[in-house]
């Protein structure tokens, strides 16, 4: 009975949050809507990272590269071939996913911090390639999105973008909820927990890691399309930034890696904070947000492993020990 009660309670909380999220733009001004919207986008990116970073235990610091590959793929398709981003986003996912598979292959050789370094190098490589192939990517000048209309995922005001990213974020949570109890999800966590034991129950460790990285990059690529559609302008140096890669990872780790809600919790805290700090100091202090993420990451990793979601869950369990 305790379990049923808990379930209904959960349902009510979820419904309330959903309604608040859905009607938020009706009451708040455009500025607040824009902040929350960005939090949703980063939440989705953090959830995408979570697949390989949290569930897979491979700490990537190169996810900005997948973001950029996704953004470039759909934007080139839109500007050059008139393909709507509603279609192009899937191509973006596939291109980013293929790059993710390459990174996954690297993860077979590179462990822990070396993998993280490898992904940083990979992101730099992607940036250089985007700069080099000027004919397709526009090189350092980037690409400006000149189309318009909802059929091209382009809107006049922030509100439609708000709903777009709201749905994206919800889809991310639902995906992770399904993923974590799926056959592949359980296999991926098993590999993270103990590779030898995973092989011992018949899991192909190599394949699992590569596919895990590909799924993570696929989702990040889709996020890249949405991001490009929102800022209307892409350039290698504004997309492939270590700062972005760090932000994606930091949000997820702070919120709680390896859980469907970690990304959202982390984004709701860190995104407004970093926007506020950037507005406060402008561009005066270079690398300020990098320092912020570094410090916050350190604190969380040392003080509350499992992130804020992990902390909340432990607290709740302690309070309700007989509800097991």
């Amino acid at each position: 009975m305790g379990l049923e009660l808990k379930f209904t309670k959960k349902l009510i909380i979820a419904a309330l949050l959903l309604i608040i999220g859905a009607i938020f733009p009706l009451f708040a001004d455009e500025f607040l809507v824009s902040i929350l919207m960005q939090a949703y986008l980063w939440a989705f990116l953090a959830m995408s990272w979570d697949v390989i970073g949290g569930y897979g235990g491979q700490f990537s610091l190169g996810h900005a590269a997948f973001l950029a590959l996704g953004a470039y793929t759909s934007t080139i398709l839109l500007q050059g071939y008139n393909v709507s981003p509603w279609v192009g986003m899937w191509a973006a996912g596939v291109v980013a996913g293929a790059a993710g598979a390459l990174v996954g292959i690297a993860s077979l050789r590179l462990k822990g911090p070396f993998f993280a370094l490898g992904t940083i190098a990979f992101a730099e490589l992607v940036k250089l390639l985007l700069l080099y192939f000027k004919g397709i990517t526009g090189g350092p000048l980037g690409i400006l999105i000149t189309k318009s209309g909802p059929e091209n995922m382009l809107f006049e005001t922030q509100t439609p973008y708000y709903y777009l990213m709201f749905v994206l974020m919800l889809a991310g949570i639902l995906f992770l909820k399904w993923f974590e109890s799926s056959r592949f999800g359980i296999g991926l966590v098993a590999v993270r927990e103990d590779e030898e034991a995973a092989e011992g129950v018949g899991i192909n460790v190599y394949r699992t890691k590569v596919i895990g990285a590909a799924i993570s990059a696929f989702l990040t690529g889709i996020g890249g399309t949405i991001y490009a559609q929102w800022i209307h302008f892409i350039r290698p140096d504004i997309l492939v930034k270590l700062e972005y890669s760090t932000q994606i990872a930091a949000i997820d780790v702070v919120g709680g890696a390896g859980s469907p809600y970690g990304g959202l919790i982390g984004a709701l805290i860190l995104v407004p904070l970093s926007l506020y700090l950037n507005a406060l100091f402008g561009g005066m202090i270079a690398g300020l947000s990098l320092i912020l993420y570094g410090v916050v990451l350190l604190i969380v990793v040392v003080m509350i492993p499992g992130g804020i979601y992990g902390l909340l869950r432990r607290r709740l369990r302690r309070k309700l020990p007989d509800q097991r």
Partner: protein
């Protein structure tokens, strides 16, 4: 059923296994004993694909499985437990055991896997812990979970690495009975590495003794326990007073 022929495994200058040959028949319970460092676990690692031997071959039901990757050996129908249990700590006990059913020999669907897992958890009497995170288990429970996990892969040949070490005598006899029943009632074939002599001798059909990476003796538990070479290996040379 399993045929190990002249296996040599070296680590640098150390010869861990020196031309070891061993065979197991269908539905046999083989005890594998030997002093510390005699190569028992190394032999398990060679059979299950974790190590590739420098020389010799391993045949399973006529197939050469030497050096095959571990997950493929599981799919052939060989499962193992580890000397130091290796739970997937942050998965629940049920998920741990389910993973084996989903990825093991049959590649069961989620619902089938859950059934298989629950059956084996009941068999090892761990059913009430199904929803607990595996890292919360004590050492005995971890070992039982590993047994259930190995069984869920659907093996015909099961390799148990010091399953009962660390258990108290009454727990030990219970687990021993459980394991013996797998051979008698479910038709499995088992090789068990064990330090606890009482357990091995009471349960095994045949005992194989390794010493310094080579075969020292082989035979029924009675023969082996009377063998002077075996006694010497375990107790050292007789001392002249």
């Amino acid at each position: 059923m399993l045929e190990v022929k002249g296996v040599v495994k070296r680590f640098g200058g150390l010869v861990a296994l020196n031309k070891v040959s061993l065979s197991v028949k269908e539905r046999e319970f083989l005890g594998l004993i030997g002093p510390n460092g005699s190569g028992k676990t190394t032999l398990f690692n060679v059979i299950t694909g974790y190590y590739r031997p420098e020389e010799g071959r391993v045949y399973y039901r006529g197939d050469d499985i030497t050096g095959l990757r571990p997950h493929l050996i599981v799919k052939k129908g060989i499962a193992r437990t580890f000397q130091i249990p290796k739970p997937f700590g942050r998965l629940t006990v049920l998920e741990n055991v389910m993973s084996a059913a989903m990825y093991g020999r049959k590649a069961a669907s989620r619902s089938e896997a859950k059934e298989i897992a629950m059956d084996w958890l009941e068999y090892v009497r761990l059913k009430e812990k199904a929803d607990v995170e595996a890292k919360a288990l004590n050492i005995v429970e971890r070992k039982l979970m590993e047994l259930a996990r190995a069984l869920s892969t659907g093996p015909d040949l099961l390799l148990l690495d010091e399953l009962v070490a660390g258990l108290n005598p009454s727990e030990m006899m219970e687990v021993v009975k459980l394991v013996r029943k797998l051979v008698d009632e479910r038709g499995l074939t088992i090789i068990m590495v064990e330090h606890v002599m009482k357990a091995v001798m009471s349960i095994s059909d045949r005992v194989f003794v390794l010493h310094r990476g080579a075969k020292l003796a082989e035979g029924s538990p009675q023969e082996v326990s009377r063998d002077p070479k075996v006694i010497e290996a375990y107790l050292g040379e007789p001392i002249q007073v």
